[in-house]
């Protein structure tokens, strides 16, 4: 729900991810984190909700 709402408001898909990983699934944990960081790196810095105080 939150993922769809964020995309609806203009956040790039993939910037917010949710995964269910149990304690014993170490491998899945590492792959998920790797995928996420690559995805976010490709998206570049987040422009939305930037603080405007200088």
């Amino acid at each position: 729900m939150l993922k769809r709402l964020l995309e609806y408001v203009g956040f790039e898909p993939g910037r917010f991810q949710a995964r269910w990983i149990s304690g014993s699934e170490g491998a899945k944990f590492t792959t998920t984190i790797k995928d996420m960081t690559e995805k976010i790196k490709s998206l570049g810095p987040n422009k939305k909700m930037r603080d405007d105080i200088v």
């Binding site: 729900m1 939150l2 993922k3 769809r4 709402l5 964020l6 995309e7 609806y8 408001v9 203009g10 956040f11 790039e12 898909p13 991810q17 949710a18 995964r19 269910w20 422009k47 939305k48 909700m49 930037r50 603080d51 405007d52």
Partner: protein
């Protein structure tokens, strides 16, 4: 006997028989095309009650103010407001035996600014009538007719159920329930747009937000004791308005009422800056349907709040 007469009779009876100590209804406002909530605690006071195409407020909101007051309360509700009553009951915010619900099937509500622009200023209202495709409004300075397509609140054009789903007393006859082929047209149209367009659209809207919290304070299902936006210790959010805090406020507000918002459209109507908040809430309603095929909250008693329950059949996109 027309609806207003019956409304006053029923209210008078309830008050005289001491069934309730207070009747919350609609009274004539200070503008021809406006009504204002009235709180009647004596049988003679029922003459203030009125009904017509200008009763847009959702009075169920006030029930939480009287939940600990001694004595019972009667409240006049339309189709959408009745859903709020059900949601408040399911959330245990109010106790059923302390509330008498007076349901009035609703032919739709007009946008008062649009009507006021047409009517001669200073005229006073005589009576109104629903003629199916339009409302006739008789005033002491001439009669007017307002077709529903142009003058009605948008939320009423796609009204899900004009008949209150909960009512101890029903006044007026049942109205046909319309069905619409594409209820979430606006939402889907915005969904198709690119991320940049969506972001630009909402940034433009939220940049106007004053953070006056009218949308939160008018919402009947926004019932937190101290809202996160009012907390001083710790001060999560300041009273400052800037795009990032406004965006956070609106996303948080919409998400906090996800699964409980009954789509009464009041937040959209009261916003002084005309921010299309219903378009935000409707997105969640659409997802509720797609993900959990749950109907609009409050449309039937006992619907579990989508985020409060889970069932094995729920989709698991995140596995």
């Amino acid at each position: 006997m027309d609806v207003i007469q019956q409304l006053r009779e029923q209210a008078k009876k309830l008050l005289e028989e001491k069934k309730v100590d207070l009747v919350i209804g609609f009274g004539q406002g200070t503008e021809l095309a406006r009504t204002t909530p009235v709180f009647i605690d004596s049988p003679e006071g029922v003459s203030a009650l009125t009904w017509g195409p200008f009763c847009a407020n959702n009075l169920a909101k006030y029930l939480t103010d009287y939940k600990n007051a001694e004595g019972n309360v009667a409240v006049v509700v339309k189709g959408c407001d009745a859903r709020s009553v059900i949601r408040l009951l399911d959330d245990n915010q109010i106790s059923r035996d302390k509330v008498v619900v007076i349901g009035v099937p609703c032919p739709g509500q007009l946008e008062w600014q649009k009507v006021a622009a047409e009517v001669k200023p200073g005229a006073s209202l005589k009576e109104t009538a629903d003629n199916g495709e339009s409302f006739s409004v008789k005033t002491d300075a001439g009669d007017y007719s307002f077709n529903k397509k142009d003058y009605m609140l948008h939320r009423c054009l796609v009204c899900e159920n004009p008949n209150p789903v909960i009512a101890d007393i029903t006044i007026g006859k049942e109205l046909p329930v319309k069905t619409y082929e594409e209820r979430f047209a606006e939402v889907s149209e915005l969904e198709q747009k690119s991320t940049e367009d969506k972001s630009a659209y909402w940034d433009k809207q939220f940049s106007r937000c004053l953070r006056c919290y009218a949308c939160r304070n008018v919402c009947s299902v926004c019932t937190c004791q101290i809202c996160v936006f009012d907390q001083m210790l710790p001060m999560w959010v300041s009273k400052r308005t800037n795009l990032s805090e406004n965006t956070m406020f609106h996303i948080t507000r919409a998400f906090h009422v996800a699964g409980r918002c009954v789509d009464c459209g009041e937040c959209d109507r009261v916003c002084p800056m005309d921010i299309p908040l219903r378009k935000l809430n409707q997105k969640i309603h659409k997802d509720l349907g797609d993900l959990f095929d749950s109907p609009t909250p409050g449309s039937k008693p006992g619907i579990p709040s989508a985020l409060g329950e889970f069932s094995p059949g729920d989709p698991e996109e995140f596995m």
